[in-house]
Assembly symmetry: D2
Homo-oligomer: 334 residues x 4
């Protein structure tokens, strides 16, 4: 089988497609024939900083993939051949709060990921795909989709009638927009592109702010909330936007902090003065993924796929991610 | 002004329309010209069991009313003349958990209610009506509407993708259906009438069960949830249905218990064996009402009014409630 | 090795000690040489109602045991030979909320228990014993100890300054007393024996009620809380006491419902009227057990062992449980 | 009566003692004869930055005071003459989450405080003192005491068996130590003084770190938690210590952020990477104060008073606060 691997020197150009033997599933494992991957900023960052993240040998990148069960390990009952499945970002985080122990089980980082034709997954590290989704759509769920759900609903506690601030039109923000719309939650969404704002409006975004036209966009947020501020921010932008997010949230409000931050510093004074809760969120556990899938199915939500490239052209997907001009998700078909 | 009062002997026939002076608002009070009331089963029960509930003199019934601010007490700033307002069920429950202290402030029971042309309300016991609602619609919110919101969302913790069981088509159940629909929550709704089931379907109910045709309807609920049971029941029926509700809920699930129960007994064994949480819910605090109103406005929800009678014919409204054949709410226009 | 097994006909007298081969641990398993068991009412009930619970063949009883790791399955790293370990009641409930899937993994019911000289446990179904405890003490934790912790702290949310009602002096109630004392929580404890009340007082119980002397003991509870009622009841007594517990709890309070109920019926009206939360609790997950163990260690809590019998005399332990006159826990040494 | 007021130019030296008439309580108010105040860093900061905080005229400083009810406004029933009472920091925050509306009701900032012989308080802005406390002790509760309780218990969710990091020996940290001890919570406490560490040890602190001897004290914290990190930090030190606190907390842990920060910047990356929750906490509502008082009474906790000065020498109390060398609280007797 063909697999893509990260090169010791790192970088998109260093990615190599090599051959490996198709593995046999042991007890508790399944062999999955991958049909699609999606790309996250974290995957790009891992490729570019492989050495710094302790990746030495030939590591397969990408946390997110969906495919078909090809073989089931001895005694396995959770899945059968031909089942359509999607992997979990953390193979070992089943439920409950995050803890140190799950970190080493993240696909496409400390262990091999899914940019390959076949992969072994733990039975407990895979779920049945929602029936209404294609492989490409399901492949967008494990990292960006579940993160958005966690930020907004199970971590953020947002509900109908609340107002949430979403930053930009990357994978997490667009998922959050779709979940919010289905949940009766009002959204304020920012972008530097009027064309993207139009697309977000079509997804139900209630208030649209072009931050290029309006550098003090936190003032627009306050106007749109009658001077009160939003209940929740899904903060994907990093230190550059965090201070504006803090200025945009109401007294007693919440910020879900997510994604690979661009660095920079922030002043914590306002967090205290406004009694804000700033919660770091890192994907989520398996049982939360199941609840998220139920929400997608019930509300017939289809992930927004901005671009799709062939397996052989996978480098192109990372270059798109690098340019950061996408709306929703970039996928690789296998 | 004209006011309806409960007679010492109780009962619908004992209700009397009498004259009283229009009162003057003191500090912290507003005078409201009522435009509409809605009727709850609790109001009927109070009228029929007045003596047993310690009501001796001429007590104005009804907890739920909406109207126009006619006068503001000295120093009042929260409202101004002509504001459209709705009262809160408990005049003294502002926020936080319920406690004994709020019980004596329930309108239309221990203190006078709103079936009258003018009434004094505490400033803290009134809210601005949602802009998109008529007086009749707003008058349905304080008891049945807020109870449904509390049962489903803030007490019940339901969210998109979960499945909720609703019993019948009374005020609370129909509100719960509307809130669930707006929140991406799947519903299973029971009724003895196919015509009412059709109306519920039009409101978005996902699974409809005629419990007359299907006395073991808990089995239908299990089928509709792949043998798992619902996440939440909004239990309005009382002891008669409670055991079926317990049979219908999943392991670890929840039952929001509401309304004036019809009596009867239940066996608590299954609550323990299935690790069910059974939570008694009694309307809700003022700040929860504000959050509920925001959800109604954001999702353009209009309460379902089944019948509307004139102030002079108020007895007729209670007779309709007694027959229990309604779908949604019964209102009185003033 | 010697193992006790439940006889098809059930009952204490039907228990038989037989020989079995010592098993070999497979991947993910450990072999434990048991040093102690503790007995719960559920174990007695299983023995007496074996057929009704679907137990056909020779089933080893008892959920609770502690011992020494004798062998580790291939690839196992969580434990090593000679580690002192205690099993978890549900071998498959690791964290998060309870769900149907864990039920079949309860030791000493649907699968073999620990009244034997050696047993295989899942690695994920065992924990290191707290350092300060003996095997006998550790053997009391998995069911009664963790249940008390769940009822009081993680499910009940009790904290310093609250008042909790404990019923009787069985295993769960005495554990709850010890946890409450260490957590700054005030307790009211009932018993029919002044001698046991004295022993409870020595453990720090704040208010003691002899329910034989005072059949309307809920009135004493109200007096002891200035007419307000307790914040939480750990309800182990069943339907017979549940109505008194409901009368004893404050408006908005909570009842943790636990144990094998003695049957009977209850009227749910007061649950609604007082906005009570009644939560069925069934032991708890593995990670909660770890948190409980940390609390025991930090506060140097030693479980109260009322009686200890030899392995060969195990029937005697069940007979003591049947008489229900114990204070704390009954253990079997192996 | 004598009152201290803040001078327009600000600063401790600008404080003036002047005469005012003793006011008469209106409806819903009580007149309190103050017996003691306590000083918080916030009071010092207000005095020194009066103009920047919009204080123009003669404003009485200090949020925290206890005394005797001297007179009750018309119709008042919550208190009677001679009752021993303590004020609440926010006169208008009764229960539920913080919101913008309560900010203007903070004593000793936007409105007059309690460094005076007599003051009017809202009935809803006062509580009965815990019976076991003196006026000096009760005067320490409203800001520092309640903040510590909120940070540790109701906001922080700490419970028996968890480990909490406390920074320094100021009022909040020492209250947190006392509450933790009573609640079975393990503490790690830092100070630059071995003498203060000894005093903290006498209060039950489990692990003591002299941060002057050990500048990389976060490493000591990790050692003391077997490399895992603490469950909770009560962060009073500001940006200077925040990065070390973040390094000291476990994956999925929590930081309660409190106090007037010393400025500076922080890097939010670790908050995301370790899934930390950073919650700004600003005192707490009235009903939380009642629950805190119950915990003090049940556990016979007496606040630690480091120094006590006379009313006439009040400036001296602020100078002590400025030197920041205290252990626990500084009070003013009146």
């Amino acid at each position: 089988m063909k697999v893509w691997v990260i090169n010791a020197e790192g970088g998109i150009d260093g990615l190599q497609m090599i051959d490996r033997d198709i593995p046999k599933p042991g007890p508790g494992e399944i062999l999955v024939r991958l049909k699609a991957n999606s790309i996250n900023y974290r995957d790009l960052s891992t490729i570019k900083n492989a050495a710094a993240r302790g990746i030495a040998g030939e590591r397969i990148p990408n946390s997110d993939g969906a495919g078909i069960v090809e073989d089931v390990g001895p005694g396995g009952t959770a899945f059968k051949k031909s089942d359509r499945v999607v992997g979990t970002f953390f193979q070992d985080w089943l439920s409950g709060s995050i803890h140190e122990g799950v970190m080493a089980s993240a696909l496409g980082g400390p262990i091999d990921g899914l940019l390959c034709e076949y992969a072994l997954l733990e039975e407990r590290g895979a779920l049945h795909m929602p029936d209404h989704l294609s492989f490409e759509e399901a492949a967008t769920l494990p990292c960006a989709g579940l993160t958005a759900w966690h930020c907004l609903i199970e971590g953020g506690g947002a509900r109908a009638g609340q107002t949430v601030l979403l930053l930009g039109t990357g994978g997490v923000s667009i998922f959050a927009q779709q979940i919010a719309k289905a949940s009766g939650i009002r959204t304020i969404l920012t972008s530097s592109s009027d064309e993207k704002l139009d697309r977000a409006k079509a997804l139900g975004a209630d208030v649209l702010i072009n931050y290029r036209d309006c550098p003090n966009w936190e003032e627009k947020v306050m106007e749109a909330t009658d001077g009160r501020g939003v209940d929740l921010v899904v903060e994907v932008g990093g230190a550059g936007t965090l201070e504006k997010s803090i200025a945009s949230v109401r007294v007693g409000g919440r910020i879900s902090l997510v994604g690979i931050l661009t660095g920079g510093q922030m002043d914590p004074t306002s967090i205290m003065r406004k009694s804000i809760t700033l919660q770091g969120i890192y994907v989520g556990p398996r049982d939360m993924f199941e609840r998220f899938n139920a929400a997608l199915l019930q509300n017939d939500i289809h992930p927004v796929i901005d671009a799709s490239v062939e397996f052989a052209d996978a480098k192109e997907a990372y270059r798109m991610m690098e340019k950061a001009g996408h709306f929703g998700k970039i996928v690789v078909t296998i």
